[in-house]
């Protein structure tokens, strides 16, 4: 778009000001000396020339600014302090399987330091590049995708995205960590969708303001897989679909995922099923004086390769026998197991600056097996310092069965305090 009117406005204002100043000087001269007035027409002509020059400069500048406005930088930093319950346990971080850091019960660290660059090329296309630092990693590419919007509907309600992006499944995955009420996602999500992102193609159709469907085809490994991003060992691609109805105070979606998982062995690899069915719902309400609140829940069910089964059924290579094989008598079909995961969460805002959250999440990676379940209660308080910064204090109470001698089990002392300061820009 051009900027002629704004420049013309500047011209008019400048001309009026300078001409008024000239007129004032002229008036003073006429009072004192009564000499002939200066050539006003020449002055205006000179001013015209100057202002035309300025107009060209301003037009160029505004054109450049218009291009720059197509770039949008955003991001956030999460600086964190963690302390576990006893010195005998390590601080746990998210992952699949959950990663135990070296013995280190208290630490400061950067959980997430993210920078996103969005370029709105035109009303019909957009490109995004998103980097992540923190969590003891080097800087890595988190997302990079191109979105094309359809030209045939007025509001461009069909969008095709190609590249590396969030897996379109459920509610938690696509919800930015910068807006989540608790520092980490549920265990089921962490295990089933480690890293939350993958490479592929996604079609989003906004059929009405309230109803949306998503179809996607992706490699299936996810960005935290060791092979990523060079190979897709399953060759066949994973398929996912989601339908969401967003009424406003009650939203809900159903998600489906199907694919194959490859367990590499010396010789033929083993292929197992990878299926996920998900339901999620969010209910919002308002309490007079206190503020808004919500109840949220999500369920994950299906079949997935099981980390414990891998340990139990596969003989890992050693220096004496450098091959990776199934143990004698092991059934490769048992590498994958039926799982169930879910969470329920209550969020209550208190006034403008506070928010309290309670979440209970559970994950059973093999519901034919006892003592492998994980459950956790998370309590959190958010204090919103301003529109960009918040402080989160959370307390996680995980419950797991640790095998003891004599067939007994106990729950290790691994409760976790987290204090996090986040600034979003």
């Amino acid at each position: 778009m051009t900027t002629r009117p704004r420049a013309a406005g500047i011209f008019v204002a400048l001309a009026a000001t300078l001409f008024a100043a000239g007129a004032h000087a002229q008036s003073a001269d006429s009072e004192s000396t009564a000499v002939a007035p200066p050539d006003a027409a020449k002055q205006i002509s000179d001013l015209n020339g100057q202002v035309e020059g300025m107009t060209e400069s301003v037009q160029t500048l505004l054109s450049d600014v218009d291009k720059l406005k197509r770039f949008k930088f955003s991001g956030y930093i999460q600086a964190r302090w963690e302390t576990a319950e006893t010195k005998n346990d390590s601080v746990k971080v998210a992952g699949s399987p959950a990663t135990l850091t070296p013995a280190n019960t208290e630490r400061f660290y950067i959980r997430r330091a993210r920078l996103k660059l969005t370029y709105d090329s035109s009303p019909l296309s957009q490109a995004v590049v998103y980097f992540d630092g923190g969590a003891d990693r080097t800087i890595r590419l988190l997302e990079a995708y191109v979105t094309l919007l359809d030209p045939w509907t007025a509001y461009h309600t069909h969008a095709l995205t190609v590249g590396q992006m969030d897996v379109p499944f459920g509610y938690e995955i696509e919800r930015s960590s910068s807006v989540r009420e608790l520092p980490e996602r549920s265990r089921a999500e962490n295990v089933l969708f480690s890293g939350e992102r993958d490479r592929g193609i996604k079609l989003v159709d906004q059929w009405t303001l309230k109803f949306e469907t998503v179809l996607a085809v992706m490699n299936g490994g996810g960005i935290n897989q060791p092979d990523f991003p060079n190979t897709d060992p399953t060759r066949g691609k994973d398929f996912m679909a989601r339908a969401r109805y967003a009424q406003g105070t009650v939203d809900g979606a159903i998600s489906y995922y199907t694919g194959r998982n490859t367990t590499p062995l010396t010789g033929p690899d083993v292929q197992t099923d990878k299926t996920r069915l998900g339901f999620d719902t969010q209910v919002y309400y308002q309490l007079p004086v206190v503020g808004g609140g919500s109840l949220k829940g999500e369920y994950f069910g299906g079949r997935n390769v099981n980390a414990d089964s891998l340990k139990a059924l596969i003989a890992e290579p050693t220096s004496a026998n450098p091959v990776r094989l199934l143990k004698p008598g092991a059934n490769p079909a048992h590498l994958a197991t039926d799982f169930v995961g879910w969470y329920v969460m209550w969020v209550q805002n208190v006034g403008e600056h506070f928010q309290a959250t309670v979440r209970y999440d559970a994950f059973d990676p093999n519901h034919d097996l006892a003592h492998d379940q994980f459950a956790r209660t998370c309590l959190g308080v958010n204090w919103f310092y301003d529109g960009f910064t918040r402080v989160t204090v959370s307390y996680d109470i995980p419950k797991t069965d640790r095998a003891l001698a004599g067939g007994a089990y106990d729950d290790p002392h691994d409760n976790l305090w987290t204090v996090q300061v986040q600034h979003k820009f």
């Binding site: 969020v347 805002n349 204090w383």
Partner: protein
């Protein structure tokens, strides 16, 4: 000791939060957003403060989009908007406040189509306006005017008027690259005053030195000029509500101010400024 540190952090956060809330309570009511509504909101604020000694209402513009962003960021108590909130804006508000916000219609506005006084064109249909602003029609001769290139003027995309016009007149289509973007309704009016081939849109209250164009919704309906009667009865087809938005249901001083805006006195002031009462 280790357990005390998070508790101390929590307590400190609580104390600072309470202190912040007290400080916020002392700063009065902040109103930010629509440039279309800025004059109206200022008049409401001035009159309200005059009648309620000790109360403070601070009004700034910036555009409806800017006001909604401020509402989401928590940097304004009331957002003024000349368009309804978009779904993604509601989602952002909900992410932070678990609330879809409270929408309150506070006045009505006829969105005038401004033409230069010398322009012989007197009326346009929605379809013609859409074609002019999307670039399909580029010469006044195509709509019964002189043989001259049409110069369409519009607002920046942070403007609620920009969004309203796009949604309701252009039916979501993108503006032509030929449309010249200006920072406020007054600037649009000034541009059309100076440009015999210009056309602009904006609040009826700003239409000084330009002529209003009669507008018809389609060929079956007559073209109608914006005035108090046609806006109030809805026969003028480009009529919109002007909104206040709050994060949650208004309470305290904010509620008192909004109640006053909706009172007979507040609504009479809206009429005096050039808008139309909402009830």
């Amino acid at each position: 000791m280790k357990r005390l540190i998070p508790l101390a952090a929590l307590a400190a956060a609580g104390l600072l939060g309470v202190a912040g809330s007290v400080a916020a309570a002392g700063r009065g009511i902040t109103v930010k957003g629509s440039d279309t509504m800025v004059i109206l909101a200022q008049r409401w604020a001035e009159t309200y403060m005059a009648g309620h000694p000790g109360s403070i209402v601070q009004v700034t513009g910036g555009g409806s989009g800017t006001g909604i962003a401020a509402l989401i960021n928590g940097t304004t108590d009331i957002c003024t908007a000349s368009r309804p909130m978009k779904e993604d804006e509601k989602r952002k508000l909900r992410d932070r406040f678990q609330s879809m916000g409270t929408e309150i219609a506070v006045a009505k506005d006829g969105l005038s189509i401004y033409l230069n006084d010398q322009n012989p064109v007197k009326q346009l249909s929605f379809a013609q306006l859409r074609d002019i602003y999307t670039g399909t029609i580029s010469n006044w001769k195509q709509v019964g005017g002189n043989d001259a290139l049409i110069v369409p003027y519009g607002r920046e995309n942070s403007s609620g008027t920009y969004v309203y016009f796009k949604d309701n007149v252009l039916l979501g289509r993108d503006y032509s690259p030929r449309c010249q973007t200006l920072p406020g309704t007054a600037a649009v009016v000034n541009a059309v005053v100076r440009d015999p081939n210009g056309i602009g849109y904006g609040g009826a209250a700003y239409a000084k030195g330009v002529k209003d164009c009669a507008v018809s919704k389609d060929e079956k309906n007559p073209a109608v000029l914006p005035n108090a009667a046609t806006v109030k009865d809805g026969s003028y087809p480009v009529t919109r509500d002007l909104f206040f938005y709050t994060r949650v249901r208004p309470a305290g001083d904010t509620k008192k101010f909004i109640d006053w805006v909706l009172s007979d006195e507040g609504q009479a002031l809206a009429t005096k400024v050039g808008y139309f009462p909402v009830r």
